[in-house]
Symmetry: C2
């Protein structure tokens, strides 16, 4: 097993230098238009190589904070005052109801994979960010290392090397897990389905967030479950006070939340509130299915904790996969279902016997060789940079009353538009101009986010992206009058 | 696309010569102990090379028909009179009941993968028969040929190249299918689950065969379905007359049968009876889920037709996979669900979004390059040979009153033992001697086949296998008094 690659000294230096400038800009000490000191001066001042100084400025330029003017130097672009407000999710009283919002989802879904369209709609990394060659290598190594070239059935519970790696990575979120507590699945969605089936029956009520990823509604309907929607705010996450009230009056059998960078609101539930949530539900013996699929895509220094890390009673069922970090096509996911593990294993056995062997083995290899950690580190940096560029471009191109979320991780921005704008109509107009995004209506059971839009920053920021956002902004303006 | 490899002239010749001898032995013209003509004489008589004559005798020797005595020549081993009778499945009146035979299955299942045990229990090809190197090559080619190295989501309906290949192969069973009628799945079990969910609700009644593969009971229970068991005879398949009676009195919502080399009885429903079955069910608008997973493993000259090939109303839902022919670990299966295709696609979307991309692509490549056909041809020959050796060995080592099925394809022998023998107890004793097989009790909902055993001939016949059958035979004898 090769050691995980260490972060170079140099990387720390240029990041820290860039960060210092960022702080000054946020504090208003450096303003838009101010000229930054020259590379040579910076290098002297900080006692670093010219190369390191250059990297720091490139970092700031990539993030849209500064711009290089030829023969002039580096100038501050960022302006604190212009930062748009974050959107607000209204409180709502929602009776449990069977889901039925499929037609819109269907239409939007078909365009998600449309050809020749600029897609601001996929909440996952675009192909350019995926280390394909290394993954192919991992597959070859996996096939070679297996006695039967991965042609035989894998263990029902899942590839043991993969489960060991998942257990090992749990330390990053303060988890204390062994491989015996992990069950692999064909992607995160299957993990959610098994967990739901382990703790509910058709007709039961499940509490979910609102807005929520539309795939959740599809699952709920497919399993004959009713949903109660709990508001989630892009600033601080699930409304726990509202949840507490609902638990007193509704027969909630289980909760399914995405406490870390939920889709689409992008909220991060603080460690403290995660603990609060776990204790609130544990008191009532209600299982919590935690979708942690975006957990690795944090922009800060430290990997956020999970609710699972506060789980004392085995009621928290954590689900995740490599679909958002690495290779959705591999369908490699897992769950750590606490006390319900035997039920989950049995459900897996009754459905697919076991998950595919080559793909599990390839991903296990990718983890073991340290490639996964190296890759996610690069991906986080890229996403952070991209998020800032997109936010900036949207601020520029969209009307002033547009509100934009400030996610601390993940792939998506949650945009609140003028009340007059119908997001689905905007979507239909945008498709004609070869731009797609996800209109707010599909993120609830009753289409209530009719003036919201989800824009993904999974693709590297290019002039084409900029143009697309410009087009969208124009359409929004036209529809706002 | 490379052309499928042609069968060599030579292969036809030696096979035909061997067959002629087989016919003579079955007709009693050649008897046990008779000396066959020398290789040189055969070569002269048939006008073939010595090499071809030699291959013909090797074929007969492999199949256990003849033996070579050093310095003497070739002698007939086969004796028509000794051929054991085939087992009989008793008629039974069976009320619909929720399945509950899991404990035994669980115990047996755990040993199926036990180390250091001679397994006469797996109804699939043993690893030696799998062309691993070629499959690895197919995987590499598939990764190389895909624009994103198979890291992205596959089409929901399934890899189009794979679906085209499946449609193409349907011609072999007189099917007239396009790729639009095919949906890929993660193995055959998932196909069965989706098909069942498309046409039933929890609480419905489904007619299945008896004896039946125990995995079916697991699925039924998991979906909350009741079963009615229809006897299947190893000689001629499902009892259609019995089925017709049942349909008149019980609310059968759907049927799930394995009309071609069912597991464990090994029966082949004739073309005519398949047509009869389809028409019987079509008249009552009852969907027929046809598990065709063993369809390619025929020992005769021609691939048997399917029920699907007689389907006029779109009520027959054919399911299959490469798990029995090639690589169970790849979890690549499919269904051709007739009029229920949209429902099935939707179920697939709500469960796994799409099936894994690399594995589908690799199998598609394996089909396209003709490797699949070449492989299945070799596999059929090997299995046919193996079936005959196993039958012979069991005839020798087991008591005279043992009845053995004569499958025309597939992987398993269905053995009826003396009434005094409890197959599960036999199983427990056999495990202590490091031999496993599948005891009859697990092939029904109420353990009625208590003196039956399923022995797989998926592994090449060796002296180790022979010893294991000898041990089993001894145990049976001991338990028969």
């Amino acid at each position: 097993m090769q050691p995980a690659e260490l972060i170079s000294e140099d990387e720390f230096l240029y990041s820290r230098i860039a960060e210092r400038f960022e702080k000054q800009m946020h504090a208003g000490i450096l303003k838009a238009g101010d000229k930054l000191i020259s590379l040579r001066a910076l290098s002297k001042e900080q006692g670093v190589s010219l190369s390191t100084a250059f990297k720091a400025y490139i970092e700031l330029e990539n993030k849209g904070y500064i711009e290089a003017r030829p023969k002039s130097g580096y100038f501050v672009k960022f302006s604190k005052g212009q930062a748009p407000m974050e959107p607000v999710t209204p409180k709502l009283v929602s009776r449990a109801q069977k889901t039925d919002v499929e037609e819109m989802i269907s239409i939007v879904y078909k365009t998600l994979k449309a050809e020749g369209v600029v897609r601001l709609s996929l909440a996952s990394p675009s192909a350019e960010l995926i280390p394909e060659a290394k993954l192919n290598k991992a597959m070859m190594e996996a096939l070679r290392q297996d006695m039967a070239s991965c042609t035989q059935y894998e263990e029902i519970q899942g590839n043991v090397k993969l489960r060991k790696q998942i257990a090992k990575h749990a330390f990053n979120w303060n988890g204390n897990i062994t491989e015996d507590e992990v069950v692999t699945t064909q992607g995160c969605m299957e993990a959610l389905v098994f967990c739901l089936r382990a703790v509910t029956e058709p007709g039961d009520t499940v509490a979910i967030e609102s807005p929520a990823y539309f795939g959740i509604f599809t699952i709920m309907k497919s399993l004959g479950l009713k949903v109660i929607e709990i508001p989630v705010h892009s600033t601080n996450g699930t409304d726990l006070e509202y949840l507490e009230q609902v638990l007193q009056t509704e027969p909630v059998k289980a909760c399914l939340f995405v406490p870390t960078f939920c889709n689409p609101a992008g909220a991060l539930l603080s460690d403290e509130r995660k603990k609060q949530l776990v204790e609130l539900l544990a008191e009532k013996n209600i299982p919590l299915i935690e979708d942690d699929i975006y957990g690795e895509m944090y922009f800060g220094k430290k990997r956020p904790r999970t609710c699972k890390s506060y789980d004392k009673k085995g009621l928290v069922m954590l689900c995740s996969s490599v679909s958002k970090t690495l290779a959705p096509g591999y369908r490699v996911g897992w769950c750590i279902p606490g006390r319900f593990i035997e039920k989950v294993i049995h459900l897996k056995l009754s459905h697919t016997v076991s998950a595919a062997t080559p793909t599990q083995a390839a991903i296990a290899n990718f983890f073991e060789t340290g490639r996964y950690d190296l890759h996610t580190r690069k991906l986080r940096k890229a996403l952070h940079t991209q998020s800032l560029r997109y936010i900036q471009a949207i601020s520029e191109h969209f009307p002033e009353d547009t509100k934009i979320s400030r996610p601390q991780g993940g792939y998506v921005l949650w945009i609140e538009l003028n009340m007059k704008v119908n997001a689905f109509e905007l979507f239909e107009k945008a498709i004609l101009e070869k731009v797609t995004f996800a209109p707010g209506q599909i993120f609830s059971t009753d289409g209530r986010f009719s003036n919201y839009a989800r824009i993904s920053f999974g693709a590297p920021f290019t002039s084409k992206i900029d143009d697309s956002l410009k087009k969208l902004g124009r359409l929004v303006r036209e529809m706002s009058v």
